[in-house]
Amino acid sequence: MTVQGVIVFDLVIAALLVYVLYLLARNRMYVGYGVIWLAGLIGAAVLVTIEPVQALFTRAIGAVFPASALAMAAFGFIILLLIYFSVQVTVLADRVTQLSQHIALQELRREQEAASAPPRDPAPPAP
């Protein structure tokens, strides 16, 4: 990659890092997800900026060109992230199910208890 390309890439990554940190600071992103994004962005910056690391990674995955190795790394990261989010959505859906069932059962229990409770004596008149 040309020096200009590396600079542009690093600038984009820096902007994304700032954006993720901003979202974390405003409590608009869960810290657990923030760690994954930060690690991914820093990893991408290291891969693109430090040439020996890039060459090592390219050889390690059997790619010929560093650009294809980077594309493969990005693709793998996105797929992993999507699977991770699918798992998280499933966990949340399960919690919503449990909560909804609990609410429905509690509401009916409360209604039935209210219906079977003896009527209250009227309050004595105020002196």
Partner: protein
């Protein structure tokens, strides 16, 4: 009536305002000894108001969780209250409430844990369904065959929503995250050693409301069912393995 024989009819309902009153009237008239609970699965129409007006206990889910989870909510209610038998009955007025007694009787008569109100087990009934769309008949055959492949036992009507089961079997159905509550449930129970019987019934065509199967699901449902069957087999084998080692 003893505690063990108390029966609860669970009616899951999603936007069934057109039929729910008729269904509740029929169940009350034809199965007067059974208790009834309706599980409102996040309906947007007047279904919950109609059920309340009828004086039937209503489990109202705050959002739509789907058929299986609505039934599991009803099962939790049944087990909390100590019912010995549970009946699943659809809210679309396709089932005949007179068959509730036949299904619960069949539980004792056949020594079964689960009885399916089956449209296809009786050859005469099967012939009566020849007017059904070809796609639906192919689907029914496909689900029946895949259930046989997965469990070793032929179940003719895997998608019937009319079932009666014992509380012991009902307890089993709360341990797994079912999606469909049809073929996957049957395979899971068969592999766990529960006895399933099919009792012939006749169903009416749906007169109002909307089926939960859309055009898209016509294509995705078979694939989903196949995947669910594989998961059910894996989960049942894992459970049996744990049971043996314990």
């Amino acid at each position: 009536m003893t505690l063990e024989t108390r029966t609860l009819v669970i009616i899951p309902a999603y936007n069934e305002a057109d039929s729910i009153t008729a269904v509740l009237d029929a169940v009350r008239a034809e199965a007067p000894t059974c208790d009834v609970v309706v599980v409102n699965d996040g309906s947007a129409d007047a279904t919950p108001a109609l059920v309340r007006a009828h004086g039937v206990p209503l489990l109202s889910l705050p959002c739509n969780l789907g058929y299986a989870r609505a039934l599991q909510t009803g099962l939790r209610y049944a087990l909390e209250r100590g019912y010995g038998t549970v009946v699943f009955f659809d809210a679309d007025n396709q089932h005949d409430a007179r068959d509730i007694g036949r299904l619960t009787d069949a539980l004792a008569r056949e020594g079964a844990d689960l009885v399916i109100g089956s449209r296809f087990v009786d050859p005469a009934h099967r012939r009566a369904t020849r007017h059904s769309p070809l796609g639906r008949r192919i689907g029914m055959w496909f689900f029946s065959m895949t259930t046989q492949w997965a469990s070793g036992r032929r179940i003719y009507d895997t998608t019937s929503g009319f079932k009666a089961l014992r509380a012991s079997a009902a307890r089993e159905l709360l341990r797994v995250r079912f999606v469909d509550f049809h073929a996957e449930l049957l395979v899971y129970m068969l592999l766990l050693g529960y006895r399933i019987h099919e009792e012939p019934i006749v169903v009416r065509e749906r007169a109002s409301g909307q089926s939960m199967y859309s055009l898209i699901s016509t294509f995705t449902y078979p694939l989903q069912t196949l995947l669910l069957l594989v998961i059910a087999v894996v989960q049942a084998r894992a459970f049996n393995g744990r049971r043996r080692s314990a």
